[in-house]
Symmetry: C2
Subunit: 414 residues, 2 copies
Amino acid sequence: MKQSQLFTKTQKNAPSDEVSRNAQLLIRAGFIDKEMAGVYSFLPLGLRTLQKIIEIIREEMNAIGGQEISLTALQNPELWKKTNRWDDEVLDVWFKTELKSGGELGLGTTHEEPLTNLIKKHISSYKDLPVSAYQFQTKFRNEKRAKSGLMRLREFIMKDLYSFHLDQADLDAYYEKAAVAYENVFQRVGLGEKTYKTYASGGTFSKYSHEFQTITEAGEDLIYICDKCKIAVNKEIIDDLSHKCPECSSSDLREDKAVEVGNIFKLGTKFSSALGLTYKDNEGNQKDVIMGCYGIGPQRVMGTIAELFNDERGLIWPESVAPFRVHLISLEKNEEAEKIYRELLSKNIEVLFDDRDARAGEKFADSDLIGIPYRIVVSEKSLTSGGVEIKKRNEKESRIIKIEEIEKELRSKE
Amino acid sequence: MKQSQLFTKTQKNAPSDEVSRNAQLLIRAGFIDKEMAGVYSFLPLGLRTLQKIIEIIREEMNAIGGQEISLTALQNPELWKKTNRWDDEVLDVWFKTELKSGGELGLGTTHEEPLTNLIKKHISSYKDLPVSAYQFQTKFRNEKRAKSGLMRLREFIMKDLYSFHLDQADLDAYYEKAAVAYENVFQRVGLGEKTYKTYASGGTFSKYSHEFQTITEAGEDLIYICDKCKIAVNKEIIDDLSHKCPECSSSDLREDKAVEVGNIFKLGTKFSSALGLTYKDNEGNQKDVIMGCYGIGPQRVMGTIAELFNDERGLIWPESVAPFRVHLISLEKNEEAEKIYRELLSKNIEVLFDDRDARAGEKFADSDLIGIPYRIVVSEKSLTSGGVEIKKRNEKESRIIKIEEIEKELRSKE
C-alpha cells in the first residue's frame, strides 16, 4: 500500500503512562492504540501482523485435525455454576453484566464449559471420538493490574483448542502432537530460539501441564532452564522436583525471566464429569470423555515479538509476521519507484511504498521504527549508481543492486 | 473435509424454543448452536459460510479504500459522555460492567466515538484527508427481545466502516461509492434481487440515510417499493414523502416486509464537533471533519440468506457463501469416491465427502438439510451407468456424467 494513504502516523514519544517496551514501540510505530490499560485497538499495520500470527496458528491447528468454530463471549451462569466457576472467589477475573430482560451474564474468560456442553449435543458413541475443535475468540479478563502492554490484556483474542478422547492413551498421544504444533508455531513466528517447553503444575488429572515460555526481562514468570534437554521448569513446581530437570535429573539449571506464550493442559474428566459429557463404549457402557485444552494468545505473541526484536531505532519484525515484506522508499518523486512498486505488487510481494512528500531523514526514521524486514531506497543517487539501495532492517550497511535483481534478492531469503 | 471427521451431527428437530426459520434450519443442519436468545455459536459449517460472507465484504471495503482495523469491545464511559450517548435513556442497548480496579465500563454497541477519538491522533491537516477505516468486530446490544435467530442478535460481528472528509462534496461522492460497494456485496452473497436501497430518516445532517432492505416475511420493517426505480422507502418516512417515490415521484408503491441488512449514514460533524476532530485547511483555518458511517452485520446477512433460500428439506446456499462447493457422497465404501475426493482437493475445489457408514436415505436427507450447491453421488449403480450422479441442490433430477467431466461441470457454473 502507499504510505501516503495509510492513515496512521508515527509518533516521536509514547504516551507517558505506557511503561512497557512492546506497547511503547507498537504505539509509536502506529500498530496499536491504547483504549485503556490492558485494552488496545489494532491499527492497519498492527492488524496485518496480528492476522499473520493468527494464520500461522490456524494452519498448525488444522494440521492436527482441529475444526474451527467460534463460541460466544456472553455466558449464561447456569453452566458455570455446575463446575463451580461462576463464583468470583473461584474464578477472579470475571466481568459480569446484566440482561435488560432480566438475569446475570458473564463475559467468557475461557470456554471449557460452553464447549463441553456443545460437544454433548453431538457426541454419543465411541465412534464419534476423538474430536478437536478450536477458535480465535475474544476473551475478557478483569485483571486488577495491566501494565505489560500486549503481554497482559483485559480483552484479547485467544486461540483455544479443546480435544475430546476415548481414553488417556489417546489424549496422551494427541497432547504430544499438540506440543509439536505449538513448537512449530513459535518457530514460525520467530520465537523458537527463545521459547522453552516448560513443566508446570498439572492439576488433579495429570502430574504436569506444559507452558511455552519465552525468555524476556519483561516476563512475569521465573523458569529454570536445562540447556541439555532444552526444556524448562516453572518456579511454581521447582521445589517439588528438588531443583532437578524432570527429563535428565541434572541439577544444572539456570534461572531466567520469561513470559508464557502458550500452554497445554490435560483436563482429564474434570469438565466432562461435571457437565455429563459421556460416550457409550463398544460394550455399551457409559464413560466420561477425556479432555485436553491448548491455548495461545496471538496478541501476547505479538507483544513478545515486539519486546524481543527491536533496537534503539524501533521494531525489527521477523519476516513471517511483518506487516509488509518490503518498505520501498522514494526520496524524490520518481517514475522508477512507482514502476518498482507496481512490479512488486504484480509479483504478490507485500510492499509499503513511502511515496510521501517528506524529508529523507523522516522517511528513514519511520522505516526503522516500523521495522519492515527489507528497505529498498530509490533515489537519483541510487539510480546513478546503477539501481536501488537495499538493506535488511537488522543490517548496518545498504548495498546497490540492479532493479532487475530485486525480486531474486527478496525470494532468495524466503 | 471428510464428513466422518466433522464433529457436528444434523438434528431431526430444532429446539422447541426456537421460533425463527433461519435458526431452526441452521441449528438442525449443524451450522450454529444457541447459547441463549440472541447469542449463537458458530460451528464448523456455519463458520465457513460466515467467513465467506466476511471475505466478500472485506474485498468490497478494500476496493473503496477502506483500511482494516480492530477496535475494542470494552469502552470507557468518558468518551460517550461527551456525545451524550452513555446514558441508558439515550442509548438503550448498553451492556455495562465494572473493572475490579474500579470504574464502570460499557461493551461497545457501535464505534463512532472511539474511532473519532483515534483518528484525532493521526489527522491534523487537509493533506491527511480523506480517510476510511473499517473493522469486523464484535458488538454487544442488550436487546429486550431476541427471537429472530441470526436476524436480531445480542452479540454479533459488525462490519462498520467510517469515513472522514474535508467537505460535504467529498463525503457525498464517497457515500455514493459506498452505496455501490454495498450493492456489490448483496449481489455477490446472493441477496441482490431481493434487496432494495431504501430511503430512511437522515438525522440532523442529512435529509436521508439509506438502508439496504431484503424482502422477507421474517423482516421487522415495512418498506414501500418503487418497481420502476428499484428503490424503496422505509415506513418511518413514507408520510413525510406523501407516499411518493423520492426519485420519480410516482405513488405506485407496494408495501412489503423486509429486514435491514445494511445501512449507510451521513454523520456530518455530529461526532467530530463533539469530540474535537478538526483539521487545518489550506488557509490555516481549523475546521470540523465531515463523517459518514456504513454498517453490515455478516451474521444477519447469513440469517437472511438462510431465511430466503430453503425448501421443506433444508437449506439451499448460493454458491458464493456455501460452506463447500460440492457434497460428494459415496453410497458404499468405494475406491472411486476416495479418488474423486482427492482429485477435487488437488484442484482446490472445496468438497465435503460423506464417507460415513450410513444408509443412503440418511446421507441424502443430511445433504439436503446442509444445502451444499452440488451433490455428487458415487455408487455401484452410478459407476455401472458410466460415472457419477450429479445434481444441483435446487434441481429435481440428477444426471449421470463421466468422472472425467466433473471438474468441467463444476467450473462451467462459476
